[in-house]
Symmetry: T
Subunit: 70 residues, 12 copies
């Protein structure tokens, strides 16, 4: 990693079953347009509720990747 | 949402299998007495250990719902 | 204030024009059922956007009042 | 603790002598109406001053208890 | 919101009159190139001072929108 | 700004109408005795309540100015 | 718990499937050399990504146990 | 409190017996040169240790008083 | 202190009477196996409650000492 | 700065010698595609270690620049 | 340190070469009017950029010194 | 990194010239007894002052290494 620069973006992934899948959905989506994804840090976890039931697990994450590969 | 007011309460849910279920247990319990639950934010995750084994996954969460519906 | 105990609750007020009015809406609503409100601290400010326009200024606040007056 | 849900409320206790007594005053007051109090976490400590003298030690605390026992 | 992914960007809006207008200026600017803006959270408020007078109210905000619509 | 040193002080301004005016009141007061005020960062916003009504919007701010000009 | 002292250490567990298993892996490893483990608090969650895919869920946790049992 | 401005300063008080006395020592010292002290918030508590024994309880506190009365 | 390195460990001390004694208990216990203890910073204060009464004041502290003296 | 809007991005720069150079590397890289860079705030500093030696000083920074100049 | 009281002030030092020099500049400036400076804690590091180049490394620091020696 | 567990310890390194050297001193000391050091995160930077001059730059860091290699 000699002097390479990384960029960090923030995404919110969503899933009806788990925060792992919500995070994975964000990573999969990002990997369609970004290369050299490296680490994905969780910033916040929450759930959306409708009619008294959890309808979505959401993970707010920060993804780092080599800058210039957008 | 014209001028409606929401209230936020803090609960700790518990489960022997996952933090998703721990969170769901808190939401299910709250929905028995509160209506219009909207969002459930995770404040803290931990586990209880007995005899070197995890016996409970616990999620401390903040639940928002329309104020006056308690 | 000799040994009196205060309670703190968290509300989210909303307004189409300002965070001051959003906060005031939360206070007005709370004062209908709570007495001896004392201080209202801002925890978070955000806005809701629809069609590229701000439709609501929201203030998440913590209200303190004499415990036992609920 | 199989799947039981706990609630957390925030109180401010006050004492003319110490933060321990201020915290104890909040716990004693809460235990008059809540059962199964478990843990009391300190969120903030401050003092009120009049005429250059401390007149009250105040402890802002979060109390957890079994939800449904209010 | 089945499995859709949101992105969050951070902007600083500015106004000579209020933080609400500063926030609105950031939203208006962003809505020129981004679609499906949803929520705008305030991260920091400050003011710029010249000759002992406030010349700008500034709001640092985080804007979320559907990822892929940039 | 070659090697100049700035000092930061913390003030609480108050107003019956808005947090902008509360902040401005703190800046106006400080500019009577301090020169080269540069930036004023908001640390905390709250309101004082009497008889169920907001009587003061208060802004706790950090003011920076060239050190040595006190 | 009369006057006993607890120690807290920080570990990072890893798993290819979930943060629960990552946490459990840290607890299992620690219980090989430490007795009287009590609570395990999550400090941070992240994932490692290779070739655009999540290869490890990692949980940074704080484990408490009776001091002197190392 | 019509439009009055308060200033906040940070002190570290010290005592060989308790954090309450450490805080009180800071307040007493400040009240020798400042008037209208109002509130003293605890920012941090620590102790100094010599030869394996606590020799001082220290309280880092923020004191507010009417600005202009220094 | 020319280039010496210090280590910091985290302990939880407990007492039935005060947080000062809880902290002291942690320091006394640590000084049995560690030399050159220097500073003990409070990270968190809480209390354990049984039958509506405080049975233990607990202080979570960080202790620094010369590294290599364990 | 009448009503102009700034954007903030997060980068991680790296250097084998210092955090200043790591930060500078991030700024140099960013200035190749962004104009009107204004301020670069440090969010986090760390180092990468291989074979017991520091091989890279890394600085995670937030860069602000006039929005629309990407 | 028997019962002596320390004060903490916040300064921003600046340098064209490093954060160490920026911090040193703040300390040197403060030591011209304050005696018994003891510790200087870094609160924030940033850089000022002009024409795509870093022109100043800035360190925001908190300086403690014996209260009454101003 | 299949299911391996890492431990994190906190050290304070010191140097008369820079925070990079202070950090390096902590890493060098740790690598004498720990293997597989991986990352060293800065938690806090400060300086010690004597006679109005900086005599030591100190870096409080968190070091991670493979658990079981102590």
């Amino acid at each position: 990693m000699p002097n390479s620069v990384y960029k960090i973006i923030e995404l919110v992934g969503s899933s009806s079953t788990s925060w792992e899948e919500a995070t994975n959905n964000a990573v999969v989506k990002a990997s369609q347009s970004l290369r050299d994804l490296r680490i994905c840090e969780v910033v916040k976890l929450d759930t959306k509720i409708e009619d008294g039931k959890i309808v979505a697990y959401r993970a707010r994450v920060q993804l780092s990747f080599k800058y210039g590969n957008e």
